[in-house]
Structure formats: C-alpha cells, structure tokens
C-alpha cells in the first residue's frame, strides 16, 4: 500500500512536470508579446526591450524553462505581469474559494446523481424512471451560463432565498454549487442508473432480500456501495471538467476563485498566472485521481489485497 502511494506520487510529479513543460512551450509559442502588453501603448521600443530583458524573455526558451522549474521547486511561481504581485499570493488568496466551490459542486452532483440514478434504477422502465432520465439529460446538456443566470434569477432575485453574489456563508455556496452540480448530476444519474440496474440483478442482492431486509437497507447498504465503485474513477476526471465550469459559475456569482483569475490572465496574456493556475488545477486533478485510486480500496476490499 505504502509502495503504491509512493509510486503514484512519483507518477503525479511526472505528470505535473509534463503539464508544466507543455504549457510553457505552448505559451511561448503564442504571438502575443508579454513585454509589449506590459509596456502599454505609450511605450518606446527601448522600454519594451528593457522590460523584455528584465523578464528574461530574451533568453533561449530552454533557459527560461529551466529557470522556471528551478524557481518552481523553491515554491516560486513568478510574478504576475499585469498585477506585479507574486502569483503564489494571488492564487493562494483565491484557491480556498475555488476549492470550496468544487467540493460543494462535487457533493451536489454526486448526491443528486446517486439519488436520481438510484430512484430511476429502482423504478426502472416506469414513469419516474423516464422523468428522471429526461431531467438528467436536460441537466447534462444545458448551457451553464444560462443555468447559472436562471437559478440566480429565480432563487435570488425573485424568491430572494439566497444572496445573489458573494462568498463566505453557506447560503452563498448553494447556487453556484448547484449550477456546477446540475451538469455533472445529469451524467452521474445516468451512470449510477445503469450500474445500479446491474447490481440489483446480482445474486447477493437476492441473498439480502432472502434475509428479509427492508428495501431501503438493501439499496443503501448492499447495492449502492457496489454501484458506486465504477463511479469513483469518474470523480477524479471530473475535477478537470469542473475547471471549465468554474470560470462561468464564478463569473456569474461573483465568486472570488481562480477561475476568474485565469480568465483575466488569459485575456491579458499574463503568462506567470496562466502557468500558475494551470499547475494548480493540474495538481488538483492529479490529487483527485490519486484520491479516487486510494478511496476505491476503502470501498472495495477486493482491490486492497490485489
């Protein structure tokens, strides 16, 4: 087990290195010149050249990458071109918000997906099943910006149940997390449904019924843990999917997360921030995958001994 963790950690480090290298190369292949962006429209050629030299942009690409990596190892992500601040500070200030949002979003999608998928599976072929499947299809296919605005309009503006924007209390999380979760819930509901149908046909479920257990106990204690197994791997991938949604959702709900930071940085070609955000999100994804790999044995004892 310890060995497995160690090996996975080493793989994770390699993946991060790969992400860093690809991002770096791609960013520097961009035609937009960061020095020029910094210098602004009134700058002289001399100023631009000075800035370029100060940022080390006149160095060969490999030298720049090497410098970046060395800095990275000492925890230095560089300084933002536009904001003239440590990227680490900027990301650190916003990371908790994004993590909160993501965790809440995952909670919503997994809970909703599990509940809906289970209901549909238990009522397979019936009206409820069809309704749930239709709803999950709509959820999985609706444009996120529109969903966000609709939820905001109905629950914050019209009903006034939740604040429209901001960060801090539980009430603030509900709408953004739901927006984020609805999409995933649609996918999860469908996957849980088919996994659940599979599991409900298994012999051990029949055994459980033969023991005289209640349907609730059979579903929650026997069927769900088994149905959940194939879905755990999805959660790791999901974090990556979330990064896109986070940008939209954070914008609509004024959520102070790194999605907004990334979006601004992209518009401004603020390379150090783009690099930083990319690495942080890659790290989150890698940790998510690691977590999925580690939690699977907790639920499935068969993997533990393999």
């Amino acid at each position: 087990m310890a060995f497995l963790v160690l090996r996975r950690l080493m793989q994770a480090a390699l993946i991060l290195l790969g992400v860093a290298a690809i991002t770096f190369l791609l960013l520097y292949a961009l035609p937009a010149d960061p020095a020029r962006m910094i210098a602004g429209r009134s700058a002289t050629a001399q100023t631009v050249a000075n800035i370029r030299a100060q940022l080390g942009l006149d160095q060969p690409l490999l030298v720049q990458f090497w410098t970046y990596l060395v800095n990275l190892l000492s925890g230095n992500l560089g300084r933002s071109y536009a904001q003239k601040t440590e990227v680490l500070t900027l990301i650190a200030a916003r990371l908790p918000a994004t993590l909160t949002l993501m965790l809440a979003g995952i909670l919503v999608e997994v809970t909703l997906g599990l509940i809906l998928g289970t209901i549909a599976a238990v009522r397979r072929g019936g009206f409820v099943d069809r309704l749930v499947m239709m709803a999950s299809f709509v959820g999985a296919s609706a444009p996120q910006f529109v969903v966000a605005l609709l939820l905001l309009y109905v629950f914050a503006v019209m009903l006034g149940w939740f604040p429209m924007s901001g960060y801090g209390t539980l009430a603030h999380v509900v709408l953004p997390a739901s927006t984020l979760g609805i999409l995933g819930a649609g996918w999860y509901a469908r996957m849980v449904r088919s996994a659940m149908i599979d599991v409900l046909n298994q012999d051990y479920v029949r055994t459980a019924r033969a023991k005289g257990l209640s349907s609730r106990r059979i579903i929650f204690r026997h069927a769900l843990p088994n149905a959940v197994l194939p879905i755990i791997a999805m959660i790791g991938i999901d974090i990556g999917q979330f990064m896109g949604g986070v940008v939209v959702v954070e914008a609509v709900y004024g959520w102070p997360g790194i999605g907004q930071l990334a979006w601004q940085a992209i518009q401004q070609v603020d390379i150090p921030i783009i690099m930083g955000v990319t690495l942080v999100s890659a790290l989150a994804i890698v940790i998510g995958n690691l977590f999925a790999d580690l939690i699977a044995p907790v639920i499935d004892p068969r993997i533990r001994t393999r």
């Binding site: 035609p31 937009a32 910094i38 000075n50 900027l90 916003r94 905001l152 901001g166 992209i266 518009q267």
Partner: protein, 515 residues
Amino acid sequence: QETPKQGGDIIVTYKNDITTLDPAIGYDWVNWSMIKSLYSRLMDYEPGTPNLVPSLAESNAVSPDGLTYTFKLRKGVKFSNGREVVASDVKYSIERAVDPKTQGPGAGFFGAIKGFEDVTGGKAATLSGIEAPDDGTVVFNLSRPDATFLHVLAINFASVVPKEAVEAAAGDFGKKPVGSGTFVLKDWTIGQKLIFERNKDYYVKDTPHIDSFTVEVGQEPLVALLRLQKGEVDIAGDGIPPAKFLEIKNSAEGPQMIVDGEQLHTGYVTLNTKVKPLDNVKVRQAVNLAINKERITRILNGRATPATQPLPPLMPGYDKSFAGYSYDVEKAKALLSEAGFPDGFETTLYSTNTDPQPRIAQALQQDLAAVGIKAEIRALAQANVISAGGTEGEAPMIWSGGMAWIADFPDPSNFYGPILGCAGAVPGGWNWSWYCNADLDKRAVAADSMSDPAKVAERTAAWGKIFTDIMADAPWVPVINERRVVAKSLRMGGGDNIYIDPTRVINYDAIYVNQ
C-alpha cells in the same frame, strides 16, 4: 444644482480584478480613477471638466521659452503614513515612473524632461531635468517645449509617492499604496473587495463627500445590475450590458439610474496601409464610404453617435463642420472600380471577442459586402488582436472596439503619436494602420511646441487641422463616438459629468449620497 451632502458609504462593482494601485504602473480605466483618488499630483482637473487646476502645487510659472516650469508646493500636505510631502518626493516619483526597472507603461509621457533618454537607456538613475531646490519648490527643465506638459503632470504617472513606503512594500506597492489623495486604501481582500476610506487630512475642505466606497470585483455586469436594481449596489462600474440596456432605460426608474454621457472615445477601423489592396488610398476611401454608421449606432441601442474624424467631439480641436465620409455605396463602388477592384476583394477584419464587438464587426462586414468587399471576421482575445495589429503585414483591418482609444488627458496630441504617427508604425507599435506621413509628423511636432498659454487657440486649431487632413489619406474609418453608460442607484447624487468625468471615468472625490 443641489449642494453635495457629506457622508455615506457606497458599493461599486467591477468585473475584473483591480490589477494594481501603483500609480507608476496602473493603466486601465478601472484603476485609473482609484489611483486618481488615492494620490495627489502637482496638477489636476476641475471635477467633471477638462480644465486644469493646480492641486499639490500652489502655483506654477513657465519660462517664456516654455522650457522651464517652476512649482511651489502647498504646505502641510501629508501622506497617509503621516509624513509631509516635500519637493524631493515629486522628483522621486517621476523618476520612478520613468525608471525602466519599474516597468511602467507611462514613462513615455515624460519624454520632454531633460535627461529622459539617459534614464530610460539605463545610463543615469535620476532625471537631470528635475530639481528640488528646497522642500517647497520643484523645477522642471525640458529639452523641448511641450504644450501638454501640465497635462502630463496631471496624469496618474505623475502621482506623488513616499519613497520609504515604496521601498518598504518591496515591489508590492501596488497592493499597499500610500499617497496623499482624497482616499486611503483601508483593506484589500484579493479577488473580492477593496475598501477605500476618506482621507480626513485631505487639504481641500469637504472633499471628498462620501465616507468610504467599497469596490467589489468579480461581478458579472448583468448580475451587478440586478443587484443595483435591488439596492445592493450603488454604482455598476462596467456600465449596462446591451442585453439589459433597453429594459432599464424603459423602466420607470430608468432615467434616474442611467448616466449616459460623452467621453473622449472614438471607435474606428484601422486600414493597414501596408497590406494590399488597402495600400491604395482610393480603396481606403471606398471603405470609409461603405460603412453605414447610423445602423451601427442603432445596434448599440443609440448609445453612440457616428464619428467623422479621429477626435471625439469633446476634445479641443474637434471640427464640427468636418463632414468626413458620409455613407454612399455608389460612390464607394465607383472608387473601387477606379482603384481596379470593380468586383471588390477579400480581406480579414479583426475584432475582440466580447459583446458587442463581434456584432459590430458583423455589421461592418455586411456593409463591406454590399460594395463587394468580402471580409472574414476573426474575433479573438484582446491580447491576440493587439499582437496582430503590431505585426507588420498581418491584420488588414482591425475594429478597435473593446480597446479603443480613450484619451489619457484631454488634449488632441494624445490622439496622434502612438496611434497615427510614424513612431507607432513599428513592430509592436500601436499604429495598426502602419500609416506614416512625415509631413503630418512635422506639423504635430510644431503644434506641440506652442506651449505659450496665449497660443492655445492657435495650437488647438493646428491640431484639429491635422486630424481632418489625415482623413484625406483615410488610414482609419472613424465609426462611432461611444457614449459611456453607468448605472447608479437612486440614492446617488451628483451630475452626470462626475460619473463620466472626462479625465477619470468615475470621480470618487465628487460623487455624494442623498440620504
């Protein structure tokens, strides 16, 4: 006009982060007005007007040759760290703005000060042209007369900062600003909000009016507006998105909530004079004639007026009588035939990708198609458009929307150098027409040398002529002068011109709250 009331706390929202509050670096229209309020400068403007007034300076004198400016500083002005502002602070602050290590975008404005080249070239650390003979006096020696020099001393880059605070911040001055302006930054939660409190020691009585303003960032304009309608927000800084404009405008409270005012803005299409067939002046004129500017103002729900020349109407030197190119499809086709393109040609039109810019680009595209010009649209992120514009032979046409020229200070010269002069027509430059007319450049230099206050009218006229003459070569299609629209809550007081102040967008010093 009612008298402003004192007190009150307000909330302002913006979509983007406040990047920096360092006056030597900050150069976007959001932080522009905040920096204005955090710091003071030798010169400033009367609120809501383009009229220069002394601010940190008590008085100023110009030598007859226009090369020496002498300022007497106001006494007893204190930085928010408690220290008094002295003449050497002024010198330090401007040198800091020019110093290449600062990486400030505003260095170029101080080009007229003696010793400028030495500092930017790294040969000297201080500007020989600025002297501080005593704590209360600053003397500027210029290498050439500069009629805009007082404006230059009023822009943000000339803000006075205390050296010890800059050094103490260790490169993070932009997040820990110390100045002597109307407001003090109380708290900054990155990515969320900034709280500005009034500077109780400010040297002008009853300025500012409000006790504090909180800037909430990361707010989608659409949502900010919903919040404003609910009374949660006082000023939606990004204005009213097109999708909401008509609804608000036609609502009962609309007129009180919308501030709709002119600003120093022109939206234009650059016609790249180095790209075939736009290198042909007839083709460029034809393009000018082909654009139906009225229809575009309609797409913008009437929030703009058709433009005839590079200068916006508010700018001194604007020629009301100049008609420019009016919409005339037949004439455009005739010109195209003359130029040898009776069937038109194919080209590319760049635009930024935020609403309504791609829509305007499509409107332009349709107009061009009507005369046979097939323009393919490339809607890209701003940075990519800027880079395409600065690359020789790359972008035939660029719609400037979303990055359009808003003046740094209300002087016509500000509309020429980098964007229409030869200096800007270089790789990485901002003259995306790549238009270079040596003759006009000479006239521009001559106009800027008329620094004698007596010659203001003559100079303005000279500039005006430059901008109408340039239209003969048609390097641009001046399309619209967009008005600025700000939404404010019902309790906010003050005239439209302090919400859309020609020199600082929102004038936080002058706005007030009606209780």
